[in-house]
């Protein structure tokens, strides 16, 4: 229970198979714990990470997740980047809607990740890939 940021709280994780999803959220929890995040914020972030990691596997095949706890304007934030070089998302507005899925899923992944995090941003290019950037604030 330090709450200090004496060491870099950072990780870069490959996402290739379903087990990597579990690893990504376990790692995020550990970083959040060391960064002094409250449980509710930590669990919200873990769930959102699970969604974007699964999207990498289901929709892009593989990619990676970068996690970092940073201090921004006096506040600690868990920054999550989920990147892949998959097919990209042609219609991002639709993809963000509750219930929209091109893969027979519930279509709630992106929309709920956005609700669970404090900041959420997607950049996607068809044929190039997708980067989801999300942040959870410690307070």
């Amino acid at each position: 229970m330090t709450g200090h940021l004496s060491e870099p709280l950072r990780a870069c994780l490959p996402v290739r198979e379903e087990l990597d999803i579990v690893l990504a959220r376990t790692c995020a929890r550990e970083l959040a714990r060391r960064g002094g995040f409250p449980d509710a914020a930590t669990e919200a972030a873990a769930t959102a990470i699970s969604e974007v990691a699964r999207n990498i596997i289901v929709h892009a095949g593989m990619g990676e997740i970068l996690l970092e706890v940073v201090k921004e304007r006096g506040r600690r934030e868990l920054v999550v980047l989920a990147c892949d070089r998959g097919p990209g998302i042609p219609d991002l507005d639709r993809a963000m809607l509750d219930g929209y899925s091109t893969a027979g899923g519930l279509g709630l992944g992106l929309s709920s990740a956005r609700r669970l995090m404090d900041e959420f941003h997607v950049v996607s290019r068809v044929g190039k890939g997708t980067v989801v950037t999300m942040k959870k604030w410690a307070a």
Binding site: E17, E18, L19, V22, R25, T26, R29, D39, A40, T42, E43, A44, A46, T47, S50, E51, R54, D98, G105, L106, L108, G109, S112, R115, L116
Partner: protein, 117 residues
């Protein structure tokens, strides 16, 4: 990794692990559905205590499991949703849609017995 299904009288109990793949889960659904028929189970308890998140894919799985076993004639109760997990679910607006839930195994069993009476 396959999921062991325990049998307690006419109730089947399956515990879902965090690291299950989609294939494991489909397998579990088929196993459960099969065993409900074979053992004439009246109830099924799906224990999700070991799940560290209930993201949209886990929700769909649990819902599918419950619907399948219900169609086979067994009451189905999901137990062991952790408080933090429940909190994230509410934020998500994710629900188990008509699937009965109970705090833990004991309560789940009590609920099934109650419905039998």
């Amino acid at each position: 990794m396959s999921v062991p299904v325990l049998r307690l009288g006419d109730v089947l109990i399956a515990s879902i692990q965090a690291a299950l793949t989609d294939r494991d889960l489909l397998q579990l659904r088929d196993d459960l559905s099969d065993q409900v028929g074979r053992f004439r189970a009246r109830g099924v308890i799906v224990d999700v205590t070991a799940l560290d998140v209930l993201d949209s894919s886990a929700i769909r799985t649990v819902r599918d499991l419950a619907h399948t076993t219900r169609l086979r004639g067994a009451r189905t109760v999901v137990v062991g949703i952790q408080p933090e997990v429940a909190f994230a679910m509410v934020q998500l607006g994710l629900t188990l849609e008509g699937v009965a839930t109970a705090l833990d195994l004991d309560e789940g069993l009590a609920l099934l017995r109650q419905e039998d009476a």
